[in-house]
């Protein structure tokens, strides 16, 4: 059976992370499986975890009254799901739904926040990694709102 440490070490999010920090993460981690259609978390709920996706696909949705939810993004193998655990008031801003069966590592946000407060080097490492993810997602969101395919396009 694969150890949790080895599974986490294979995730792109922790690439290059020192073994000592990896051990600290492992102490807050557990394996989870979500079946297709399962709501991983719901907008407004307390955000006490984030997820390293091993296999499967998750849709990030915005709920809108009297119409189906709007899927703004999908995440899949190797992606990180959720950063609201890091930012007060620690409530999910969106809803995440498993599109397929999802196998993931769940990391306890409260446990990690406590460790980051106690060890700022760990906190800085994690913040740098989350900042990179956030920056890429903001870029993608900006590009998405341009609606480049809506107007004139190359032929």
């Amino acid at each position: 059976m694969e150890s949790l440490e080895r599974i986490i070490a294979e995730q792109p999010f922790v690439e290059g992370l020192e073994s000592y920090y990896l051990q600290l993460l492992v102490g807050c981690a557990r394996n989870v499986v979500f079946e297709a259609g399962h709501t991983v978390f719901r907008e407004g709920e307390e955000a006490h975890e984030f997820y390293l996706l091993r296999h499967g696909k998750v849709a990030i949705e915005i709920h809108a009254p009297q119409r189906p939810p709007i899927v703004v993004e999908t995440l899949a193998d190797g992606d990180v799901l959720g950063w609201s655990w890091l930012i007060p008031p620690h409530h999910w801003r969106f809803t995440a739904r498993a599109v397929t069966q999802v196998r993931a590592i769940a990391l306890d946000g409260k446990c990690l926040r406590t460790k980051c407060e106690a060890n700022h080097d760990l906190g800085y490492e994690l913040l740098k990694r989350f900042a990179d993810i956030m920056s890429r997602r903001v870029d993608a969101a900006r590009y998405q709102v341009i609606d480049v395919y809506g107007g004139g396009v190359n032929q």
Binding site: P68, V71, T74, V99, A140, G151
Partner: protein
């Protein structure tokens, strides 16, 4: 009158029309005079003339191995394209060309090929895919990343499935807006790079789509270690003559119709980022 004169349209008849999406159609055309069709290379375009309406540059989206027909995929966005997509089997149109610099399919031999297409930008790249898939052993890994506005706007859906089943090939598609019943990826095409492992030192990339999308994709490829000289993009401007005479498609020191439409990214990167051009 010579049929090879690049300024004179040759009559082609529409043999088949396929509706790809709500506003995009593929026309298979054949010379009316039964002479051999114009020779072309992947990435080249023709000037298509609709009698009494006008003329437009349209990339050839068919297979170079099809020795009888010239195939075009046209999105209805204006007066001439509205007329083009209204043509039925048996109707005729004028064809000049083909024109322009093709995709570097020979230079790509032996390398991994990353094809990135957005929207109707898949049409000019389809001949590249046909070419490589027919000579699969002569190329390295093939990756196709295709982004469209919505699932309904995806072109060549059956072929996308077929291409994904070819050996040593990876096809990833995504849409900017997907409903809850869509089980594919949602997100812009650049986000698909997360799911492929490139070998940058042996990769050549061919990119076609809206110019903003190509800029983002080229930056993503650079970030992943692909040399600018190994990134090719297909540009579009207001082309009229197709031969570099009229100057309508001037792009800095180049004419898109004659020096392009396919350019090496290192040659035009600064122009792509300039506000004035």
């Amino acid at each position: 009158m010579s049929p090879d004169d690049p300024m004179l349209p040759v009559a082609y008849r529409v043999e088949k029309v396929t509706k790809e999406t709500r506003d995009t159609f593929t026309l298979v055309t054949r010379r009316v005079d039964r002479a051999p069709r114009h020779a072309f290379e992947p990435g080249q375009f023709s000037m298509l003339y609709v009698c009494a309406v006008g003329e437009l540059p349209i990339s050839i989206s068919g297979d170079t191995a099809d020795k009888q027909n010239l195939t075009y995929t046209v999105r209805s966005v204006g007066q001439v394209t509205n007329q083009l997509v209204s043509l039925g089997v048996g109707d005729t149109l004028g064809v000049r060309g083909p024109f322009g610099v093709p995709w570097p399919v020979e230079e790509a031999r032996g390398k991994d090929v990353v094809v990135v297409a957005g929207g109707i930008g898949l049409a000019p790249l389809r001949p590249v895919l046909y070419h490589i898939l027919r000579r699969r052993e002569e190329y390295g890994r093939l990756v196709l990343l295709y982004g469209a506005r919505s699932p309904q706007d995806q072109l060549f859906r059956k072929e996308l499935t077929q291409w994904s089943q070819a050996p040593e090939s990876r096809v990833l598609t995504t849409v900017d807006y997907g409903g809850v019943n869509w089980h594919g990826h949602v997100g812009v095409v650049t986000t698909m790079f997360r799911y492929v492992r490139l070998r940058p030192e042996r990769t050549i990339a061919m990119v076609c789509g809206p110019e903003i999308m190509m800029r983002f994709v080229a930056r993503e490829l650079e970030t992943r270690g692909v040399e600018r000289s190994q990134i090719r993009v297909s540009m579009e401007r207001n082309m009229k003559c197709g031969c570099g005479f009229c100057g309508h498609c001037q792009y800095g020191p180049d004419f898109i119709c004659k020096d392009g439409p396919v350019f090496s990214y290192d040659r035009i990167q600064s122009r792509m980022e300039a506000y004035e051009i």
